[in-house]
Assembly symmetry: C2
Homo-oligomer: 572 residues x 2
Amino acid sequence: MDSFFEQATGREPADLRIDNALVADVFSGEFFSSSVCVGKGRILGFSEMPAREVLDAEGRYLLPGLIDGHVHIESSMLCPARFAELVMPRGTTTIIADPHEIANVKGLEGIRYMLEASRLLPLDVRIMLPSCVPALPVEDAGAVLTAADLAGLLEEDGVGGLGEMMNVPGVLGGDADVLQKIRDARAHGKQVDGHSPGLLGKDLDVFCAAGVGTDHECTTVEELRERIRRGMYVLLREGSAARDLLHLLPGVTPENARRCLFCTDDRQAADILNRGHMDSHLRIAVAAGLDPMTAVRMATINAAECYGLKDRGGIAPGLRADLVLVDDLQNFRPLRVWSEGELIAENGVMCRTLSALDPGELRRSVCLAPLPERPFELRVPSGKARVISLKPHSLITECREMNVCVGEDGLFDIARNPGMNKVAVLERHHASGKIGLGLLDGSYGLSGGAVATTIAHDSHNIVVAGDDDADMLLAVKEIARIGGGVVLVARGKILGSLPLPVGGLMSEEPASRVAEVLSGFIRLAHEHLHVSEQADAFMSLSFLALPVIPHLKITARGLFDVDTFRFVPVEL
Amino acid sequence: MDSFFEQATGREPADLRIDNALVADVFSGEFFSSSVCVGKGRILGFSEMPAREVLDAEGRYLLPGLIDGHVHIESSMLCPARFAELVMPRGTTTIIADPHEIANVKGLEGIRYMLEASRLLPLDVRIMLPSCVPALPVEDAGAVLTAADLAGLLEEDGVGGLGEMMNVPGVLGGDADVLQKIRDARAHGKQVDGHSPGLLGKDLDVFCAAGVGTDHECTTVEELRERIRRGMYVLLREGSAARDLLHLLPGVTPENARRCLFCTDDRQAADILNRGHMDSHLRIAVAAGLDPMTAVRMATINAAECYGLKDRGGIAPGLRADLVLVDDLQNFRPLRVWSEGELIAENGVMCRTLSALDPGELRRSVCLAPLPERPFELRVPSGKARVISLKPHSLITECREMNVCVGEDGLFDIARNPGMNKVAVLERHHASGKIGLGLLDGSYGLSGGAVATTIAHDSHNIVVAGDDDADMLLAVKEIARIGGGVVLVARGKILGSLPLPVGGLMSEEPASRVAEVLSGFIRLAHEHLHVSEQADAFMSLSFLALPVIPHLKITARGLFDVDTFRFVPVEL
């Protein structure tokens, strides 16, 4: 007979008893006043049994630990330990994480790092295996992950299923490897996440029939309803850029709410610091009129059911003692957070620093071929060029056909094209030496230097923009020196340099430090380098390299016309 | 790309299209008018695609196949194939079956027979491994199943988890083997059924904390609520004897209904023929005022979720095409039933006969030691005896202390004790020769013969009652000859003999035949053998040997005082 059982029967004192709590009973859909006893990290029961520690909850609400149904940790630019320190004081005790970004950089090694780094944490991280690495066959990602590559990981402790299937054409077209990935996850009884914005009708039927079980890309009530009708779970997303929660809430009814849950998908560190994490979903939903119990269920038991986590999602004997004590059902301010019975945060502050896994080889993710002497020379003898134009506050770009000034040597001359920028993507995983070159019209507006980053979706090569070849080169060299990150250069001087040593994507510094540095960089970019206020100084660049968003993008292989799905030369 | 996928995309015609159906969308909680296409046994989608066969549902309701959450097939006295033929025309396509009875007779061999017999059927049978064989340590069952015995079966295809844990004291007392059985099932991610009538408060906490996940023994709304609060699923039972549905329905609310499902537990063949199966639960619940969609969910998706059956419970692309077309939402009369896309029944009639597995060694389940010359001689020299008294229409017995007439040899003399009966239990599994003898007061009332059966809970030895030793002996010999079953004898003549060749519990005859024979036997027992109308001619005997129901019972080891939990002599 184990010690937990001795505690459950009362023969040994409980580790903790929380008295006078309004316990969220997500099973019955009501709150009830009770004691809750905890032992060996699990709920023992509701009796007032002897305990080593007793806490008076003073009539406050005790919720099950909150669950983020879909998140890319990398979007916070924090390694898992620093991410956990950021979200746990907000009440999050479980996340369903898709390490899509690090997998694009380091493949299985990247996934393994996330798995092993997570195992050291009190935040329970369920890893969804990235289904689309690379995102497209025309990409130069750090790895290619086939069904066979992923199959070996499906049995691994901590793996929750297959990550968001973005390759909708692959599914609809019956691509063998794509379907195999889905089948393998299903054969292990695991969830398969979808990503199917706008998909409806017969195509949605096929997508579901193939075995996809969730979607977090709904932006309309119709999309939400059509997915629930087909047995999918719908994750209502509220990220930093994509904010769909308020648009979708009108579609959540008492009858269908059990198929709805919450997620952040992509949320920056500064945003989590300012707005919160799953607690912000609760606040927003309840403020918008959702019944608080329904909101709590969406953040707990519904997510647990969706991902087959039978040991959590509620407060009941035998379940994990993942608990959040909140002040009320409007603010949902987490006063105390327990993970497996351990008090992990109090009044928004972590009770201890978490151990981070040494990223080892992931520190050496920038692997550039020797650079040519003038890597950014761009020949446009005709003076007629395809130019990328950013749309204000959008990831969509336009393709402009412009007359540009060139020198006698036929080279684009930045000095004679004021307001314009050069942009380049340099393959950085396998030292292939591939460099794609392009031009930006005045919509980015950088002058007096260069900006470079290794966050460049989804392949995360180096993207650099500037109005001076030497500054661009300096920025790239600094990126290589720091092992990836974000760099600002002004007239031969490094203005700012944020190392993201873990794969060129994640920092090992605390969230507050990363957020502070980045906000300083953004200020510098706008004030010192004159980047347009209509553009996001870094995110605009990061998504310039993602050839799935219309219309004209740039990869290490050159300019890519998303509409015709082919590479095009700069010169017309 | 497989053929199912070709059909889903419409590149190949569907196998079946059902047009103009009011489809039960159990995910959204509403009915909607649509076509439903089926291919390779699964739902393809809701588009009106080309199909090899088209059915006009004429606006009738299309439900997912119904699921019985907990049933002992043996209680129907039918082998699995005949049971399936009985319930499938009623709309049942999945059952969660606990082969507790056959396991008490034949141990792992019995379980394996149920597994393999089920694999031949269009009824999907999920086997819960019997957790309590024997029911008590004082029993002479056919087998003893330890945690180690069951562990090997947990991975087996078709095994759904651990069957009803009736050993509540074992759980609360922390019995190592009992807890191991629960842990093993949980470690495989499988459900553990409970059986905890009346358990509340701290003991219920411990029962849940140990890992028990369901209960079907609630008889009050309080029990139901307390179990749901603790994260258990509650199965609302409506069997032949135990009818709890109407008592429990007031406890089902829109908020907690997702944790509620239906079950029959024990329902006789005649009862299923007359009242129906899960369709009767729907009728009763809706007539009692439950919202039809909630009722349908309880009979489908809730049960699927409770038992982790991710491939069914709703009508959605990719799920099993287990479907029931019913006339309306009051009668729920199944017009057509499909299992994995195959039309299996129409207007209450099976479309084909099902293949039954040869029970092999299970035919030889009656293994008696050579009988002594006078096996039923009972010495009561003092003339003072403990006598079993049946309570009218109840499984509970009373212990009466009576003066009885004995001969000069000190033997109980039936002729001088009119109205009384002798009762005996003969061990029949291992030819141990154990015979327990007892007396019944006039509450059974048999005169002019004997009744014997191999259905004697839970060990299923032979129980025989009569007013004549020779008739009792003849009945036992006939039982042995037919390999187990039910036998009536009147003054040296066999009045009726129903073979139950499969373990002495189940017939291979169709339900209608078994029901007809049994109803004839019951008439004979009352009219010809004068069994009291207050007693159930056979069930009263079958439960006389179950030493967990108060107060005085009889086993092959003799009289058992359930209150003091010890054997007692007949003579006072």
